[in-house]
Each structure stands twice: as C-alpha cells, then as structure tokens.
C-alpha cells in the first residue's frame, strides 16, 4: 500500500499549501512588533484595537456589510422566483432562459464590470453605491439561482399539489408549503451572495465611487504602501466573517432541515 500512502502524503501537502499562508496571516496579526513581519516578538491584540480606531477601515466595513446584505436579499428574492418558474412550470424556451440567467457566470467579471459601468454612465448614472449594488446583484444572481434550483428539484411537487387540492391558492401554497421546505436553500443562497459580495474586488474596483472603499479595496489600497500588521489583523477579521458565517449558516440550515424531516 505504499502507493496509497504516497497519495495521502501528497494530499496532506496540498492541504498545507492551501492553509499555511492563511495561518501565517492570522499568526502575524497577533504580532506585537511594530512591523508586520517575522520574527514575532510576542502576542498582542494591539492591531485589532488599531483597526477599531481606524476610521477608514470602520467606514469600509460599514459599506461592505450594507452592500453584502442588500445584495443577498435582492439576489435571493430574484433567484427564488426564477427557480420556481424553471423547476415547477413547463414553458417554451426554457433552456434559452436558463442559459441567459446563468450568463453572468460565463462572462468574465472584468467584461461585465466594464459593460455595466460604461452603459450606466452613458445613461448619466455615474459611479455610485447604487451602481455597486446593481453590479453585485448581477454577478451573485446565477449562483443563488443554481443553489435554490438544486434544492427545489429535490422537493417533491406532491406537497404543493396536496395543498392546492385542499383549496389553497398559489400564494398560500408558496408561503405555507414551498417556502418553509425551501428555507435551507434560501439561507444557503443568501449566505452565498453575502460572502461573494463581501469578498468581491474585481468588479468593485470598477464600480465604486471615488472615496468610497469596501473592505477588500481598502486592503488593496493599504497594500500599495507596505504590508502592515494592521492588514494582517484586517485579514483575520475578514477570514472570520467569510468563513465563520457560512459555517454557522450551514449549521442553522442543517438544523432547520433536520427539524422538518
């Protein structure tokens, strides 16, 4: 079984490759030294305190949180409605429509960013928070749609048919039967959109108005000077937001799914 052992060792090495650089970011964010580098001198929370006292960073956090929350809500609502139509109804041209709705994944984000920016500018809509929000909705929508669609296929239509035959109208059926069954997917879709939006930099650099920064663009701007312990601390906070949140969300979704079956 030496072959299998070699493959396992290879796998461990890949895990290390993936996690070591990230672990170093977290480690260095607790460095008490003045400069964000090795050797470490001692552990301290000073860089997190500095983050809290840095107005630009706190402002970037507010922008990112608001943007991600709005993106999540809008994308999920659009995604659920479209998924219902695609899974529960038969109509001509379904394949074309599916491809069209998935198209934002297939188009490079840079191209999407340029097209949206220049088109809205031509309509006399300069870069603003609204442009940023529209951009984030368009690139998160297909992912939410795919997540909700995959879940909806697994929910048997008999439940809905039963509700209908007992006299519920389509709206009542949706809110009393479909939506509760779909809740884990709604949750997953929203988290997906939230973290994608919170993390985005490729499109955001095109769409953001001058003077407004999100957390990733703020980090990018700070990198221009040098890598400070503050960036590592900010990175640690980002990791907590974008990793812990989906994990908690998945736990909640699993709990929801379990309590229903």
């Amino acid at each position: 079984m030496t072959g299998w052992n070699f493959l396992r060792l290879y796998t461990v090495a890949v895990y290390l490759f993936m996690f070591l650089p990230v672990a170093v970011v977290v480690l260095l964010s607790f460095n008490s030294r003045q400069f964000g580098s090795f050797p470490m001198e001692g552990l301290s929370f000073r860089w997190f305190v500095e983050l809290w006292n840095n107005d630009a960073i706190v402002r970037a956090f507010r922008v990112s949180l608001l943007l991600a929350a709005l993106t999540a809500v809008i994308s999920t609502v659009l995604g659920i409605l479209a998924a219902l139509a695609l899974v529960r109804y038969r109509f001509p041209g379904k394949n074309t429509i599916t491809t069209l709705l998935i198209a934002p994944i297939l188009i490079p984000e840079v191209v999407l960013a340029v097209a949206l920016l220049l088109f809205l500018r031509w309509l006399d809509m300069p870069r603003s928070f609204l442009v940023l929000l529209l951009g984030h909705v368009i690139f998160t929508l297909p992912f939410v749609l795919l997540v909700v669609q995959a879940r909806l296929v697994a929910i048997r239509p008999e439940y809905e048919e039963a509700a209908r035959s007992l006299g519920a109208n389509p709206l009542q059926t949706f809110f009393a039967v479909t939506l509760p069954l779909l809740l884990p997917a709604v949750f997953a879709g929203m988290l997906f959109a939230f973290t994608m939006s919170f993390d985005d930099i490729t499109g955001t650099m095109f769409w953001k108005p001058g003077g407004v920064e999100t957390v990733p663009t703020q980090i990018f701007a700070m990198l221009r000077h040098s890598i400070s312990p503050e960036i590592n601390a900010l990175g640690t906070v980002m990791i907590v937001v974008t990793v812990a949140l989906p994990l908690i969300g998945m736990g909640v979704a699993r709990r929801l799914a379990a309590s229903r079956s």
Binding site: P21, L78, L81, I107, E109, V111, L118, G235, I239
Partner: protein, 288 residues
C-alpha cells in the same frame, strides 16, 4: 391569480430576474460593442460613429497581441498546476472509507470562502523580503541577506493556483464520487491491477469533472487583474490589466470597450468549445 393566468405565471415569476439580466448584462454588453467603434478625441470628448481606430490599434499593435498570448499562457499553466495539485486530494477523499469524508472535502474547499485579496496578499508574508521563508534562510545562514522572490511571473501563477485550486478539487470530487464502485470491483476481479483500473475506468469517468474544473480555472485565471497587481512586477500585466488601465486610469472608454470584447470573445470561444465537448451541465452539478 386565477387559473386562467396559469400560462402567464412562470413568466411573471421570471420577469424580475430576466429584466435584471437583460438590463444589467445583455444590453450593456451590446452597448460596449457599439461603443468600441466610437472615438475618444485628444480633448477627451467622445465621437460617436463608426470608426475602426480602436480595432486597428488592438489588432495592429503587437503589444496587445503579446499580452493576450501571455495571459492565455499563464492561464494554461495555472490550469495545469491546478489539475496536478487538485486531482490527487479529490481522489483520496472520494476513495477513502473514512466517516469524515464530507469534513475533509469541506476543509479543502474552505479556502474558497476565505477572501481572495487576503489569500493573494498572504504570499507576501511568506515570500516577501521580511517574510517567513527569507527569515528562515537568513537565520540559518543559507543566504547573507533576504532574496527577492516576489513580483515575477512565477508568483503570479502561484497566487492564481492558490486561488483556483478549490474549484478544481470540488469538480473532480463530484465526478469521482458519482462513479459506481461496482465498476471498480468488476475491473479488479477481471484481473486488472489497481493502476490499470485507474487508467481504464476511474480516470476516463472523471474526465468531465476534470474538464469542468479546468474550464473554471482557465477562464477565471485569464480574466484576473488583481493577482498581477499584488504579486506581479511591472512586466506581468495581464490582458484584464489593460482593460482596467484603459477604463479607469486613461478614461479611454472606447478602447476599454474594444479590449473587453476581445477578452469576451476569446474566453467565450473557450467556453463554447467546452460546451460542445462536455456540456455546461457538468458545472451546475457541483451545486447539487
């Protein structure tokens, strides 16, 4: 809604999403096609019309062609490394009999959730002049002073592989996990060695996943401009950097439009070839 509206119902449900995609994606892309034929004059004013100047520049100047070819090369090397590094872990997790399979997979695609910019800049902590590696090398006396390891093509590829590997692992895993184990047992019982079984059964059946992962890695790598800005030197500009330069720095929007369309057409052709050979449905499977 009465029963008479039943035929209209899917369209009512679809209309918000369709309107969003049409207004924020389809029309804007068509718009930049038209826009690429406009001109930006020396005074900064725009001249609508049908001018081929931007296209003559993009196709005539070897500068653009060289960067496009360089970008495709970097994306291809990145994809190759993602396949080499990603296939084995996906295989080991899929074939292992441990109870913690899902946990192992989750752990390996967890970096997908860790911020792209953080993962990219994390390599500066490792390879920078006062990073982990240089500290060790200098500390051990192997080199007298820190070595410059960053800001070249290799670090750009390194950053891209680190960013895109989870896409590859997930797609390969999905196709490996779907293989009927009886096929593998049958192959073994008919006398094939485990290596033969892998070559004749497992590998061919996992090719769609490998292709889906490869497509995602290639397209995402070829469209990036952040990684070269953070980990590359001045000569590592990729094609998307030219787009960013033209649109945001030079404010030459017609030229930026033409460059965007080149990127769209080239990567669109790659997606189209893939769709012919494998089918786009394979990618959607990873969401199930």
């Amino acid at each position: 809604m009465g029963e008479t509206g039943a035929a209209a119902r899917p369209w009512i449900l679809l209309s918000p999403a369709l309107a969003t995609v049409a207004f924020l994606l389809v029309v804007p892309v068509l718009f930049i096609i038209v826009y690429s034929f406009w001109l930006r004059t020396a005074t900064g004013a725009e001249l609508p019309g049908f001018h081929l100047d931007n296209w003559q520049l993009v196709f005539g100047d070897p500068f653009y062609r060289d960067i496009l070819l360089g970008t495709l090369r970097i994306a291809a090397i990145t994809t190759l490394f993602c396949a080499l590094l990603g296939y084995v872990p996906a295989y080991v997790i899929a074939m292992s009999t441990t109870r913690h399979k899902t946990l192992l997979l989750l752990l390996l695609i967890l970096p997908f959730w860790i911020s792209y910019i953080i993962r990219t800049m994390s390599w500066i902590n490792i390879l920078g002049s006062s990073g982990a590696l240089n500290t060790v090398l200098v500390g051990l006396g192997i080199v007298p002073e820190p070595v410059q390891m960053l800001y070249n093509e290799a670090t750009v590829i390194l950053g891209l592989v680190h960013f895109l590997l989870p896409f590859m692992v997930l797609n390969v895993y999905v196709s490996l996990d779907a293989i009927d184990r009886n096929l593998l047992d049958a192959s073994r019982s008919l006398g094939a060695s485990s290596l033969q079984t892998f070559r004749e059964v497992t590998l061919p059946l996992s090719l769609p996943g490998l292709a889906a992962g490869g497509l995602l890695c290639f397209v995402l790598a070829a469209g990036t401009y952040i990684t070269p800005l953070v980990l590359g030197g001045p000569r590592q500009a990729m094609f998307a950097n030219l787009v960013f330069e033209a649109v945001i720095t030079q404010l030459n929007w017609p030229l930026g439009s033409a460059l965007s369309i080149v990127l769209l057409v080239v990567l669109g052709a790659v997606v189209m070839v893939y769709n012919r050979l494998v089918g786009l449905g394979q990618i959607a499977r990873s969401f199930g």
